[in-house]
Amino acid sequence: MDTEKEVIISARNVVKKFGERAVLNGITLDIYRGETFVIMGGSGCGKSTFLRHLIGALKPDSGKVSVLGKDLSGLDEDALDAVKKKIGMCFQSAALFDSMTVGENVSLPLREHTKLDRSVIDIVVKMKLEMVGLRGFEDLMPSQLSGGMRKRVGLARAIVMDPEIIFYDEPTAGLDPIVAGVIDKLILDLSKKLSITSVVVTHDMKSVFSIADRVAMLYEGRVLEVGESDTVKNSKNPMVRQFIAGSPDGPIKFFQQKDDYLEQLIK
């Protein structure tokens, strides 16, 4: 069945080192057009770093990342910009521009990248803000908004160029359960209504299984398991089970000290 689907993002053996430490240890993944794909894993497992490779912000030391059929590391700046205009990114901290109003934030890509008329841009901005439930907030500054509202404005900005893929970095982190639920619903709505491919990086288990078509779990820079949402949920792998259950005891160790505790105490 998988062979019928169009691969929109493919990563082949992606390795990335920061100094001596290898953050990505050879990741191979395919993401298909139209699906909601969730990448989960503990803090420091390399999931955010991997996401930055997919949006062209980082280049792999070895391996290959292709987005929309283009090998990102082989592109010059203009070609890379052309790919970037077809993707949207929702940042963990929303990353709204403080010096601009909500409306200016959302309209920025349109104002700079297109030759659309001011009045057309205003209409598009209203439509996108309506989608995230914030129509009428155009003239507020980002500092006047709550965390959840900022994230929704960030989402409106990410979809303003009608991208083919949206990336979400921890979309529900730091939000209360209701707002988190609203964001999850928005992600689902957008991928169903606009048939956008969504790639979500998160460690919020509730959100994972309510939005994901397929899930990949990363651990120490490798893909531990990848598959349909239900398959992963009922995985036999003890590490995946421990992560989903959130139990402190199991094969994944919380403590990462190198030296022996006793030895260090009496030293």
Binding site: A57, K84, K85, D98, L108
Partner: protein
């Protein structure tokens, strides 16, 4: 001893690396200014204009204040010496040449480095640590083209303008001392002010201030874009940008004064 040499070596290496990176940023900025219009990728001019208002117009009051009182001080200090020779009238060229060649450009640059350079570093630094720079890149905006170029152009244009303004106010300050305190004839004072002043005295000052504009904008942007580590990092970059700008302004002042002195004797 070995330790000391190692430390000096490390400092030299780090400084060298920074110099290379700042130069690279400068070349990239100039590249975008020259190539941008042909690639049809210049940011809208509004950004540059608002930076010019912030860097130039909003600095007018503080720059005028500093220049005006410096003019007064130089007039009084030189009168203190010149009075011994009964040569009070030479206060006029002393002030006008001193301000135009040296104090106008340097003091204006130092004030602007403290006001505008620090603001640039703090703003870009905050944008960096809150992922706003990354957001720009993801939306296919080159941060150099979009953020650095307007600030560079604004300071390159506005700092010489501010310097001209400072020159005028400094000379006015000296004039007031000369006329009201030393009892010099206003007409004679003005004649003497400009009789000894060559056009070269004026334009070397303006060239200097353009160089200082480049220094302030480049250091501010470089420190801002390389900020790491949250609020503390922003504070560090801001301080570093002011301190580095001050040092470089004084250093380049010496170099440029030397060049102008020997090149055009």
């Amino acid at each position: 001893m070995k330790n000391l040499i190692e430390k000096i070596g490390a400092v030299v290496l780090i400084t060298g690396r920074h110099i290379v990176s700042v130069s690279a940023l400068l070349f990239e900025t100039i590249y975008w200014i020259l190539a941008g219009p042909f690639k049809k990728k210049m940011p809208k001019p509004e950004g540059t204009f608002s930076q010019m208002v912030f860097a130039g117009f909003d600095s007018l009051i503080i720059v005028s204040f500093v220049a005006f009182f410096t003019g007064i001080v130089i007039a009084m200090q030189s009168a203190y010496q010149l009075a011994r020779f009964g040569a009070n009238i030479y206060v006029a060229p002393m002030v006008s040449i001193g301000i135009a060649r040296e104090l106008g450009p340097v003091l204006t640059a130092l004030v602007v480095a403290g006001r505008v350079g620090a603001a640039i570093a703090a703003e870009l630094g905050t944008m960096k640590v809150t992922e706003q720079i990354e957001a720009l890149e993801t939306m296919a905006f080159n941060p150099v083209r979009y953020l650095v170029v307007p600030r560079f152009l604004a300071l390159l244009i506005m700092l010489p303008c501010l310097t001209i303004f400072a020159d005028i106010l400094g000379i006015l300050g000296g004039f007031l001392v000369g006329v009201f305190q030393l009892g010099l004839n206003p007409h004679r004072y003005i004649t003497f002010s400009f009789q000894f002043m060559l056009f070269k005295d004026f334009w070397t000052g303006i060239v200097k201030s353009a160089c200082f504009g480049i220094i302030i904008s480049m250091i501010g942007c470089y420190m801002g874009l390389n900020t790491k580590g949250g609020a503390e990092g922003v504070g560090k970059s801001t301080t570093l940008s002011v301190v580095t700008s001050f040092i470089l302004i004084i250093l380049f002042d010496v170099i440029l004064t030397g060049v102008f002195y020997f090149a055009n004797k």
